[in-house]
Structures are given as C-alpha cells and as structure tokens.
Subunit: 655 residues, 3 copies
C-alpha cells in the first residue's frame, strides 16, 4: 500500500491549501514565485472547486486546473489534489433539495455556506462519485500529483427521511432482528419497544431525554455514513492511481468521527490543528492532538492545516505572536509530522474566511507573517533529511475511544462537567509537563509493549477491552484508571455494580456505593491534595496495597486513590500539580523516564528517531541541560551539556 513516504520522499512537506480560483490567473506566477522563495514544496488544490469544475449538472471545466497543475509541476511544487465534494454547487440543492441535511429540529441546512450535503443522499453520492471519477481519470498520470485529499473535515449529520431509511438499514445489518435492537437499546424503558423496523427514527428532537443507546447508535451510524462517503471516493481514486496514498483531513479531537476506525481506511493520516495563541495550554493542546494523530497514523503524519496567524471562528481571534508559528510548527515535526501545511496559502479577500490568516497575509510579501513563513520553510528544508520518516517512540499509552466518548455525552448523565476533552487534557497535561512522551491507543489495541497505560476515562468498555486491560496488567504492565471507567458495556448498559466486576477486582473495589460529582468551583480534600470534578464513595477490599484517602466531608476516610499490585484507580481529578506528581511517581516506578531530566517549566523535549527537539514555550530565555555533545541542525552549532533558548526558541539536536 502507498504511504506518506511516497509523497514526502525524504522531505518535510511545506505548503498549504491553494485556492487560485479566487484570484485572477495573472497572479498565479506571483504565487509560485513566493512559494519557491518560501520553500513551499506542496500545495493542496481543489478542496472547494466543485462549482468551478462542474458549473452545471454534468459539465466539466478542467482547463484552469490543467494549467495550474502544469504550472506547479513546472516549478517543482507537488500537488495534493482534493475531491471537491465537501461543498456541492448551488444547482445540486436546487435540483435535489433532498440532498440537503436536516438537524434534529428538522431545520434544513441550505447552501450558501459549505457542507450542505446529506451523507445519506443517493443523489449526492452519485454526483460526488461522478466528479471524483472524472477528476481522477484526468489527473491520474499528472506528474505534479502526489497525494489524494478526499472531501474536507467530514462533520455533518442528517436527521431527514433518507438518513432515516439508511439508519434503519445500518441497524438491520447490525442487529438482524428488531428484538435484538430492542434489547440493545433497552426499549423496555419508557415504552419504546419497536414492533417493526419502519418505526425507527434518527435521534430527532423529543419532549424529554432521548434514548441514549439510540443516540449512541445514531452517532456510530453518522460516523459510518461519512466513512462510506470517504471510502467510495477513495476507491475511485485508488483505481486510477494505486501507487498514490489517500487521506482526508481530521479536525483535532473531533467528536463526530471514530478516528481510529477512519485511520484504518486511510493511507495517510492528516489533521487540522488550531490552538488558540492565547491559551496558556495551547502548546499542550497541540502536543495532545499531535500524539493522538501520530498514534492513529502509526508513524509519521501530516499537519494538513494550521493558521499562520489568526483564525476567524472564535469570539476574539488573536494572531500568532512573533516566533510562535515556527515554534508550534517545529513541535508538530518533533511529534511526528512529516508535513507542515496551512489553511491557506494566500489569505482570501472575499468569502466567509477572509479574516482567517494565510501564509501570505493581506499585508503581502512585506508582512511579518510571510517573512516568518519564509524563515520556517528554510529551516524545515534544513532538518528534513534527518527527521522525515522517523518515528517517535513512547513507553506510555493514553487510552481513548470515540464510542466511550459518545456514550458518556448523553443527556441524562451525572455531571455535564466531566467531559472527555477535559479529562484527556488534564491527564495528558500531567504527562506532558512531566516531560514524558505518550502515545494514544484504543482500549482493544495491543498494549503489551507499554510500561504504563493511562485511562483518563472510558465510560464504555467492551468485554474485549476489559480483558485486554487485565491481560496487560497480568503481563506486568502498570495501569492507571480515572473514574467512571468501565461503567457501561458496548450497548451503554450499566454493568452490575456500577463498574465492571473484573475491574473492581483489579483495583480492589469491593463496593462502589455512590458517585459524588463536584460542582463548579468545588473541591474535595484528599490526603496531600485537593480533588476536583468528581469523587466516589468506595468501599475497598481489606488488603489494598496502597491508598490515598479523602479527608473531611462525606467521604472522609474512604479511598480517593487505590492501588492493587500494578493497577491504580483514581476516583477524583487531582488538581494539576497533584496529578502530575502522582503520575510522575507511578511512571518512575514503572520505569518510565522523561526525555530529559530537570526541564525548566514551559520547556518541552521530544525525541524523534535520533533527533532531540527542545522547544521553549516561554518568552524569557532559559538554559536547558542536555547532557553530552550535540549538533543543532537549525544553526549548525555544537551544543555541549546545555542549550540556551530565547523567546519561543527551538533546538533540533543530533548526537
């Protein structure tokens, strides 16, 4: 199978979405000049070109794209060619209103924005296949073509009638009999028993709480339908170019797609990443998404989109201060990216995203943004050969699963505060600040090579996953689990006792009496720290190996943290410093070491292959101890035992 290496060929890809149809063709040569000047070696073309390519049903206008591909190729710039199916032309909605999605309230999502297609619409799928077929046929042999990019940020749902019909088909394939569906959905509750498949609906608006198993299956269905759209187009382009890899761009930690499942269907995993430059934990958020994407890719991955400056969808959108674009780009490379790309090459003058930055901002070539992009391009070229294709290895895995997330986000839950992103972020942050490199893994993945496995929260765990965790611990691994893990089975059925018996046994929980979620601003005292967000009334077994107790309050004297052998259970969310200390202690005991010892606050160290990245997220200069002698690939300087980093400074060191 083709892979990212077939596109990168030993370089780090550098570039971005290029939408020259927004500009007069006379500006294209200027674009190419600036690209070359900035070291751009790859651009993504055609993401939103459907109306240009097919201005009316069945028409084909490829001339402009022919000229563009030729121009780029003539200048040695590779093309990531996109199928344009994320935004159908207006004529599709007008001729076929049934292609428009409906939300849970029945509202139509009209054209005039983007993504106004129903994943379930046969008509949409037919038109999408046709344009994909013709695009692939035409450019299969074009020498500029290096990678296929299918659609864009798949993310829509549909609650309309055609989606309902497909949902029924999906359910029928899954459950075979309506009785099996009734059992899985627990329809005995609230008189929801279905007598016939025709009665089953998408998760539409209801008077009160919806059936959570129905919602869960509807989320699974939605992810699967979008994936069907993806694989249908992928298969078409693959037929034409079996030698070229195919990707679609994820959104970071996006709720709507089971990205583990999707990644299996991609040749290349790519992601769009937009940390808020003002977020004090922006760099950690980046690291989390990068670690997750690398883990999905099983190796190098693509940063398909980031912003050279501001985005335009927050309430207040801040630019990247001087140096931050370089720092965050090199962080992505450090954590496995073999492509540093942007939305978009040239900032638009019109349309909904004209305040979203570009590599060439409205200020143009003189602007700070482009000048920094240019510097970065040169640096990436300098380090590419030593870095591209190399792996990042981690002894620690953090477990994450979309099905657990989907199930946990049900209406009638105990706390709206304990959501998956909050918990993933808190636990990953503890490890990141401790300087420990982490992978992510699915709970049914092979964990045997890991020294430490961390489960921030997996509300839903299959039997196979539970057995996997137990086998991992039995095999000598160290496991740390956060609260509300292993509560539900794959149908969102609460397991007897509130937590699966096998897990209770593993952790030394005799009885889980009650969950005690905490209010906003509330903490619970523990021996040595404060817990936040959650607590639990646990009666442990008598012979726990280790425990940290709640102090004071209703849970006084009950265990907040339990250890039985190498299995830890943490029934609250310790404040950040406490969670870091706890995980650091457990990691050390499990033989896991930070990449570098004694890192100053705000400094990140990651090893990729033989190369050590040291990244400074602060503005005041620091000195970082790096034992031994290294060469800094960025400067060529020799570094002995320590490296000095200025504001947002980075060192890329080889032994």
């Amino acid at each position: 199978m083709p892979a990212l290496g077939d596109t990168t060929r030993g370089r780090i890809l550098f570039g971005g979405d290029y939408n020259p149809e927004q500009w007069p063709e006379e500006t294209w040569p200027e674009d190419v000049r600036l690209m070359k000047d900035a070291g751009v070696n790859s651009v993504t073309v055609g993401v939103f070109s459907w109306a240009r390519l097919e201005p009316r049903p069945g028409a084909r206008e490829f001339g402009w794209l022919d000229r563009l591909m030729d121009l780029l190729h003539a200048h040695g710039i590779g093309v990531v060619l996109a199928t344009p199916t994320a935004s159908p032309p207006p004529w599709l909605g007008r001729l076929h209103p049934e292609t428009l999605p409906r939300d849970a309230d029945g509202r139509v999502e009209w054209w005039g924005g983007r993504q106004h297609f129903s994943h379930s619409s046969a008509v949409y799928r037919r038109y999408a296949a046709a344009i994909t077929e013709d695009l692939a046929a035409r450019y299969a042999g074009h020498p500029a073509l290096t990678l296929w990019h299918i659609n864009n940020e798949y993310c829509t749902a549909d609650h309309g009638d055609e989606a309902a019909a497909r949902f029924r088909g999906w359910l029928r394939a899954k459950y075979r009999t309506i009785d099996a569906l009734n059992t899985a959905w627990g329809t005995a509750f609230w008189s929801q028993g279905y007598d016939d498949w025709t009665e089953v609906l998408p998760a539409r608006h209801t008077h009160y709480l919806k059936n959570p198993a129905q919602v869960l299956d509807f989320r699974r269905f939605t992810s699967d339908m979008l994936l069907e759209c993806f694989t249908a187009e992928r298969d078409i382009v693959r037929r034409h170019t079996p030698h070229l890899p195919v990707t679609t761009n994820f959104m970071p930690l996006f709720f709507g797609q089971d990205a583990w499942r999707w990644a299996e269907e991609e040749d290349v995993v790519s992601v769009d990443l937009y940390p808020d430059p003002r977020d004090p934990l922006g760099a950690q958020h980046g690291a989390l998404v990068q670690d997750l994407t690398r883990s999905q890719a099983g190796g190098p991955w693509m940063l398909m989109e980031q912003a050279a400056g501001a985005v335009n969808w927050r309430g207040v959108n801040h630019p990247r201060p001087r140096g931050l674009n370089r720092l965050w780009s090199l962080q992505a490379v450090a954590r496995g990216a073999d492509a540093v790309c942007y939305f978009q090459w040239r900032q638009s003058r019109q349309g909904a995203e004209k305040f979203h930055s570009g590599m060439v901002s409205h200020a143009g070539e003189r602007g700070r943004t482009y000048q920094e992009v240019r510097q970065l391009g040169a640096e990436l070229a300098r380090i590419g050969g030593e870095v591209a294709g190399r792996d990042v290895t981690a002894e620690v895995a953090v477990l994450h699963d979309w099905h657990a997330w989907w199930a946990a986000e049900q209406d009638g839950r105990l706390s709206r505060r304990a959501d998956q992103p909050t918990l993933l972020t808190a636990w990953h942050r503890a490890l990141w600040e401790e300087g420990i490199t982490t992978d992510f893994a699915h709970p049914e993945h092979d964990l045997s090579g890991r020294k430490l496995v961390v489960v921030p929260q997996l509300y839903l765990l299959t039997d196979a996953a539970i057995d996997n965790l137990r086998a991992y611990v039995d095999g000598g691994g160290t496991l740390v689990c956060g609260f509300l893990t292993g509560v539900a089975d794959e149908d969102d059925r609460i397991r007897p006792g509130g937590v699966d018996a096998r897990l209770r046994e593993l952790f030394g929980i005799r009885t889980l009496h009650e969950w005690w979620p905490l209010d906003e601003g509330e903490t619970v005292g523990c021996d040595g720290f404060d817990g936040t967000l959650w607590s639990e009334e646990i009666e442990p077994v008598d012979d726990l190996d280790e425990r940290i107790d709640y102090l004071g309050g209703e849970l006084d004297g009950l265990p907040a943290v339990l250890r039985q052998g190498r299995a830890w259970y943490v029934s609250t969310l310790p404040e950040p410093a406490a969670l870091r200390a706890l995980l650091g202690r457990i990691a050390a005991r499990a033989g896991v070491r930070p990449v570098l010892d004694g890192l100053p606050a705000g400094v990140e160290a990651v090893r990729r292959g033989e190369v050590l990245f040291v990244l400074h997220h602060g503005r005041e200069p620091v000195t970082v101890a790096v034992p031994g002698v290294h060469r800094d690939l960025l400067t060529g300087a020799v570094v002995r035992d320590e490296v000095r980093l200025g504001r947002f400074g980075v060192a890329v060191l080889t032994p």
Copy 2:
C-alpha cells in the same frame, strides 16, 4: 368516594415504581425478596408499559402482568396500577403523525423519549381509552390492586392544528361570542381583532410580544385538555372499580397544571419531589411542596416519587448523603404523607434514566442506598399506626393560584426577576424558619378559620377573590400581602389605579405612583432592613396605623410597609432575616405560635395529629427543648423536656 385510606388501611405505604419489564423474569423473585426485606408494601406498576402491553395496534399482551400481579399479591405487596398512556408505542406516531405535539416554533416532538402525545389528538385519546378500558377490565378484580395511577406527570403542550381546533372550541365554550373574546383579550391593542373563530391560534411564535391574554387562555386550555385526558381515563377505571381511589402524580410546584382544579378531580393527591441534596434550602423546598400538596389533598397525600440518591437531569447531580433520605422521607410523613415512594425500585441499567438512583442502586443489596432504604422501611412500619391518616393543622394559609402565576409570567412584564417560585419560596421560608406550620390555599377558598393569611404575590385576582380577602379581614383575620398583588383581573386587565381600589382602601394606599423593580444585586434601604427585588412609589392615606419607610434613594420617606388595621402591605421583598422577623411579629400579634419555641437553627418541628416530629437538618448534634414527657416512636425511648438529635436526626414523639 374512595380515598387514600382505602389504599393505606392504617399503614404508611412504602415502595416505588417497579418496572420489571426491564429485567429478565428470573430476577422478579429476587426483587420480591428484597422488597419484603425492606418493608416495601406497595409498588407502582405499568407506568411505561404501553408498548409491552400493546406491541402493535390492538394487540394485548397481559400475560406478564398477570404473573407479576399474582407474584406481588402472593407476597402481600399491593399494586398501584398505572395506565400506560404517558408514552405511546412508536407505532402510534408512525401510523398517526398527527398525534405528535408541536411546540410554539412548530417543531415536532418525536417518539424516542416520552410524552410524545398531543392532548388534543382524537386518535391518541381513542387508543389511550382503549388500553385503559382493557387494563381496567382485566385487573378490576385482582386482589393486589389498591390504587389507580393515571398517566404520568402530565406536562405537555401542543401548538399544532388539531390543538388549534380544540382551542377554538374551548374558547367558544368560554366566551360564546367572538366579541366577548375580543373584549377579554383586549384585541384592540395591536390590531388583533378577530372577525371569526377560525382566525384564532394557539400561542405560536410571533415576531414580537404575544398577546398576554391569549397566552393566559392557552395555558388554561392546556391544563384543561390534559385534565380531560386524565378524567377520561379516570372515568373508565372508576366504572370498573368504583371502590378504588384514583390519582395522577403532580410535579412539585409545576407551572403547567392548575393543581387546585386537578386535585378536585382526584381521589388521592400525589406528588413527585426531588429537592437538590446540595441546596441549602432543599428541606424548605420540600416542606413547601409538602404543605402545598397536603392543602390540595385536604388531608393525607402520597409522596409518589422521590429519589433515594441522585437524579440525572441537573447539570451536576449529587447523591443523598447518609441519613438524608430518611430525614426527608420522615419530613414528608410529618407534613401529611401517608406514602413514601420512589422512582424507582431498582435502578435501570439502560435507558435515559439509568443514572437516576433507585431504592436498589447499581451497587445492589450491599450498597449504602438499599441499606438505608431498608432501615427506613422498618421505621415507617413502626410509626405507621400512630400517624397514618392523621391531619396536620395550620393556622396560617399562604395563598397561591396558577392563573395568577400564568398571567404574571408574561413576556412584557416589568421584571423577569420577580417570579412566583422565588416569592413563594421567600415567604414560605420565613414562616418555616420561624417554626410556624402553614397550609396553602386558593384565594377564593374559605379563609375564615385562619388566624393569618399570607399573599406573597397574586398578580391576578378575581373580584370574588378580592371580596374574599376583604371579608376575611372584616371577619377579624390578619392579612399580609406582597407587592404586585391584585393588579390584574381575570382577563389580565390592569385594574384602575394599578392595584384594585378595594385593596388600596384595605391597605391605606391612596396612589400607587410607580413600580420600581430592582436590578440583580440591587437593594433598597428601609428603616431597619434592606429590601430586594422590588419597590414601589406609594402615596399612603394620612392615617395609616403603622408604616416602615424607605430610607434614602428616590423613595426616601415613602412607606415600604403599610398597615391599616389587620391588613399589611409589603411593597418590597425584605431580606430573609427581615421578612422572617416581620412575619414572626405579625403572626405573634395574630395569635399564631410556632410548634415549638426556641428551636435551634435548622431544626424543624411539625405536629401531625398527636404526634410531634422534630427534624434536624444539620450535621452537628443539637439539643431541642420539648417540654413534657414523650415517647419516641422510632426508638421507644422516653424523652423528658429535651431531645438530643445527631446528624440528620429525627424524633417522632407521642405524649
């Protein structure tokens, strides 16, 4: 007419909703064993069983229910049998989409939750009647049957076309002529004059403020239509079992039903009560709802649902800490409950409420929740004989009326802060903290036996109600009225002068110049305290008997509190301690005494028949003076002059 006593027969009912259709039939004997062990003597069956009983149109599957009734009867557990009409099976919506309600925006409320029926749908009503008929016919003679429970928490509205037609019929019956409707609704305002009945609509979405009289009548209509649904089913079951009482469960202080009117149609008044265990005023909220329910029942009532632990519909849902379930259950008994029941017996493993606690929690028999339920069952059995059927008497009545509430909650009002629950709570709290037992009453009820009548706020008062209040004062009663009372007549027409002239005369108000609502966080100085929420610019008569003035600000020197004879008017909401002191002083003057003198903070005392309940809502032990010699029914101990209560402690004392 049958009454609650026909069901309780001298006991306190103890049990809850039992939904065994969610569990394999093999678990039923285990349920019954645990019920017996916990002293459960009554369970509610069938509330959401429609799809099980009628899996397709016209089918009947009673076998499982036959076996269940027999099993329960065999173990001496009585059955409250519910009509299953609160959640129609999916096939009803599919075959008859017109049975689905629409909200004001036209959104359909689909099946997949519950209560997806239009009260106005003839088809729904026909199917509901048919299943009710067959259910009643089949179980009329069953020895386990003790009470009928109709539907569940009636609460829906419908703005669709069939509801529109019924609304027109309802209005026609009320007004006879379209001119009368035009007059009542004040349609001369904003050119809303109707020429014909066909033009009249439900209170659907409008561009700007809706006609408040139309909204008021639509609320009345909605309550009446739901009541028609109730009485239709009631009449069916009554025909089969004239000897058995009938109820439907209210929600606490629920906006959507005129509960005074509804209570008249019930043999037994029952309520669902879910105070937040974290609410510092949770116990007072409970007392308020209990007092209101008792007043609607005119004697003993049923606590049909409460939670043994957490609910699942708040943002963060807290369990009941150790002892609180017992305390709040005994509080309900103290205030007149002859039944202490839960939603639900066994916590569900599936469905939208699986995080809502049960008497048997996910932790099962060993869990703290069940163990405390078991203790409570034993205690209720111990005190039942002395308590069940006995009355709570009160010399004070707090007036409340749904029509006044509905009218006050109009869009274009002066303050969104001064809502009915806030005011009822504030005034009831003052009396509750003062240790004074209160009833509630409708403003047209006979008040002649009361020493004190309190009106937190009744924006709308009929002429009859105003005359009733005057007659009460004329007859020697003491009346205290809060602001914005008597402002509108029954058509929501502002009375000349802004407050009815008879009330102005009663209180000594010459001119009400302006209403001065207060902002969030704003207070108004008064002589001796601060007022909140509201103030008024009043010119009093010259010869007021007593007044407390505003100090400073725009109202400086004008009266905040006015007394003329035995009639008091309070034009602001005094801060809690001040309102308590004011009402305490007025009550004392009216000859009203607390149940016990010198109660410590957080201790509640209520007398039911001869039995004195002393309830401690705090965690630190207290000693309560109880003059004389009593026996504690819970412990059998003899109590002389004082009783010592630990955390959440309760004493149930007989002379």
Copy 3:
C-alpha cells in the same frame, strides 16, 4: 415639498400615540380634557387600527375615526394620522398564509403579536395600499390632519419563498449578470458559484458560516423592500394631500434600515427613543440618537416616541425618576426636536404593552407621571416660540454608515466585541463629555464645512468615500479615524494590504502586519493611557508627524496613534478619559471649541439658534459659568455669568 414646519407652525408639538379604540368611547372627552390641561397639541392616531378599520376583507369602518378626528379638531388638537399597516388583521394571515414572514430557520412569524407581514408579499402590499388609499381619501381634507405617519418601526425580514423571488429580482437589477454577482459575492470561495438566478437564496440557515457578501446584500435588500413598502404608501397619501408632510418612525440606531437612504424619502424624520433610566450613559445615548436623527433630517426632527416612565421589554424596567422625563425631553429639544411625543397617551389596561408607561399612567390624573407631563407641556409652550424651527450647528461630524455596519457584523470576524454601537458610543461620548456639539454624516456627504471629522469605525468604505475623506483633508480638514476603517470595499472585498492604500498613505501606515483584537477585560499599554478592545501591529512610514506608541507587550514600540499632517489614525480604543483628552486636544488644534468652557461633570450645554440649553444630568446642585447676561425662558429670570441648577435642572437661556 412640505416639511415639519407645516405641521409645527412655530410650536413644539407635544403629545403622543393615542389609541382610543382600546377604551369605551365615553372616556374620550375625559382624554381630551386631560390633554388640554397638559398642553397636548398633537396626537398620533391609527397606528394599530387596521382590524378596527377593516374587520373583514374589504370592509371599511371609519365612523369611530370620523368622530375622533372631529372631537380632536374641536379642541384644537392636531392629528398625526398613521396608516395601520404594521399589524394586519388576523384574517389576512388566515386567508393568505404566504403573507407571514419566515426567519432564517424557516420559522413562521404568526399573528398574535405585530409586524407579521412579509415586506415581499404582493398580497400584503395590495391590501396595505387599499386601506391606505381609502384612509387618505377620507381624511385628506380633514382640518385636524397635520402629518402622515406610515406604518410603524419597520423592522422585519423574510427568508421565505416570495422574499427569495424578490431578492433575485433585486440582485438582477443590481448585478445584471450572474457572473457579476459571482464576482461581487466571491463565490469562488467554498464552491458557491451560481449558474443561474434561480439558485440564489436569502440568507437562510447554513451548516457553517454564510457568505458574508450574500448576507450583506440580503440586509440591503431587506432595507430596500421595507422602503418600497414605505414609499408605496407615502405616494398614495401624497397624492391626496400634497401639502402635508409624511414620516415613518425610526428606532434609535437601528440595525435594519439604512436610515440615510430612508431619510431622503421622508418629509419629516422622526425617531423613537428609549434610554434606560438606570444607564449612567443614558443621557449620552439620547444625545447620540438626537444628533444622528437631526443630521438625517438636516434640521428639526420629531421625537415620535419616548416613555414617560418605564418600558416593558428589558429584563428589569425602571421608571423615570422625578424630573428625568422633563430633562430628557428638553435635551431632545435642545438637540433639534420640534416635537416631544410619547408612546402612548394613556397606559393600556390590556395587551402586550400594558406595563409600558403612558403620559397618563395607571395611577391616572393624580399620578406623578401625569403631573410631570403637565408641567412639561406648559414649559414647552413657553419656549416653543423661541426654539421651534431653529437649527443646531456643529463644526464636527461623526461618520456613520449602515452598509459598513452591516458588513462588519459578519459571522467570521476577528472580534465580536468591536461592534458599531460600542464604537459610535465611545467616540461620541468623548466629544459629548468634552462639551462639543457634533453632527453625524455619511462618508460620501460633503464634509467641506467641517473643522473636524471623526470616524469611529467604517469597516467598509466605497472608493467615493475614500476619495471624499482625502479631499476633505486636502482641503484643510482634520480627520481622526479609528481602527478597522477602510478595510473592505462595497462588496466586502478586503482591500489590498488590509487597509486601503490611499488611507494608508494618508495616515502614514507603511504596512499593517496584523490585527490584534483584545479579549474581554484585556487592555494594552500605551504611552500615557491604556487601550481597550483592539490593537494593531503597524509599521509606519519613517517621517510620521506625531505618534503615541504601545508600551510593553508584543506591540512594544509600535505606534498606537499616528498623525500625518491633519490625518490621525487610532489603532486601539483608548479608555474613556484618554479618548476624551485625545479628541479634545485634536479638536482644539482644529479650532473647535466646546459650547461652554469649564462645564462641571454631568452638565451638558447645547446651542440651538440663539438659545443656549444648559442641562444637568446629576442630582446634586451645581453652578455653571455662563458668561454674559441671559434670560431663562423657563423661569423668566435674568441670569448673569452663572446659573445654578438643581437635581436634573435645565436652563433655557436667550441673550
């Protein structure tokens, strides 16, 4: 052309909306008695009388209005007669549901409120024309008639199918070809290219951000369609009464109408003004709206509606404290109003606005509100002769444009905090506090007579406007521009460089590198003050004439304020005192003086013709220096060199 003077005839109009159809006809003589007593000389009749005039299709009931007009005329009270088209009778919606508007989500706006008409509905327009025609024909010769009032507060939008058809027609007239539309809307972005006019939609709900140029044109279209409704009725009444002026009432600083364009179509500009009595800047808000309205009128204008007391549409609605109604009414006169009118004469007892105050409140004749109205009426009569028809002149113009506002309020913008009302208010406040009288102007107006032109923010500027600003500065004028001005052209296309090159040249901006919006609560240090809301990374030309730099932070040392010749650019929003000082300094340099020097805080001075108004917005007495000898028209007193003003005091001084 007829003008306001034809109605006022040397007096200040005093009165309000009079809706006697809400009252029994017997009360009319009492109304007239109180009107005469209060000095009322003008009432507005018929605003919401359609259902009364045409109770069923084609019917006409004018008798009551005949009697009313005669009665008013008999007592010398002039009538502003309204076309009743703002609220069609229920029968129109029932017979023609297509006349009801739909919002972007497709929700119907039903009757039962007001303004439930689609501006695009041919049926609505036909019925509106017919009733207007008959009304005009009937009362054209009535001696009471003094002014036509068309509809009321035009403000609706429609996204339905008939509006879609009209939108297409409007676009076709504007763009001629679909290619031109594609170019203007930038439909190359996100594949929105239209092949045919039939594909174009109103700005309906979309999955993600809408095309901002489409939204902008839809706002323009909406304003134009409403204007078509206005001019159609205006032309009808004009035909009957060519000698009488016509108006429609604006809402203050209302988003939905291009009021510059509308004002051109009116004979009289009128506005409704409802500052919050609790707003510490309520008086400044009033001044802003008054200045804007006067500028639109090009001379005297009408205060068509204000509240004598509270309104009813805020969360908490406060009355006007004693004296405030007089103060704010005289402020309007000072700033050019020749009419002081209210919604409404007598507070309604029924309907959606019965808590909205009237000149005669629920308290009636004795009430404080009416008593203060009466005093005001007498005072207005006293000063009218010296004031009515006189101009207010200003050397300063603040620029405002609806198209710029509409464009700036797009979804995908950089900051939701930097909205037009916030910025207009901040900049106008600085001048108002400095005692400088300001006009407003459109950016393409002739500015040559101004000493100072201030642009708080005009995100969109046409080429003509930019050239106008440059010509103004070239001609010797002083220009101060706030940030994000001149960014977009008239199609909302970002100008190269992010700010138009001509403006960059004017201000000495070499490169605008990045916009740096600020978060809530965030400030940016500048040399001498703090900036709020926004900042910018600007590289200036080398030879700036003057600059104030950012201090500290990412922008340290870059210019916050730039001056090149007489052109100033302010790239942040200085805190209020700093903006006032800055503008004061610039104004002084430009030769602009306050009306009075050394005004105490909270005192406002305005000159109208020869008459000097001094208005005190505080409660504590102050002394104001007024050099020379004046006579106070209110009291007749002679004032030498200083005037003493009590709480909310006003002096109206002639030389």
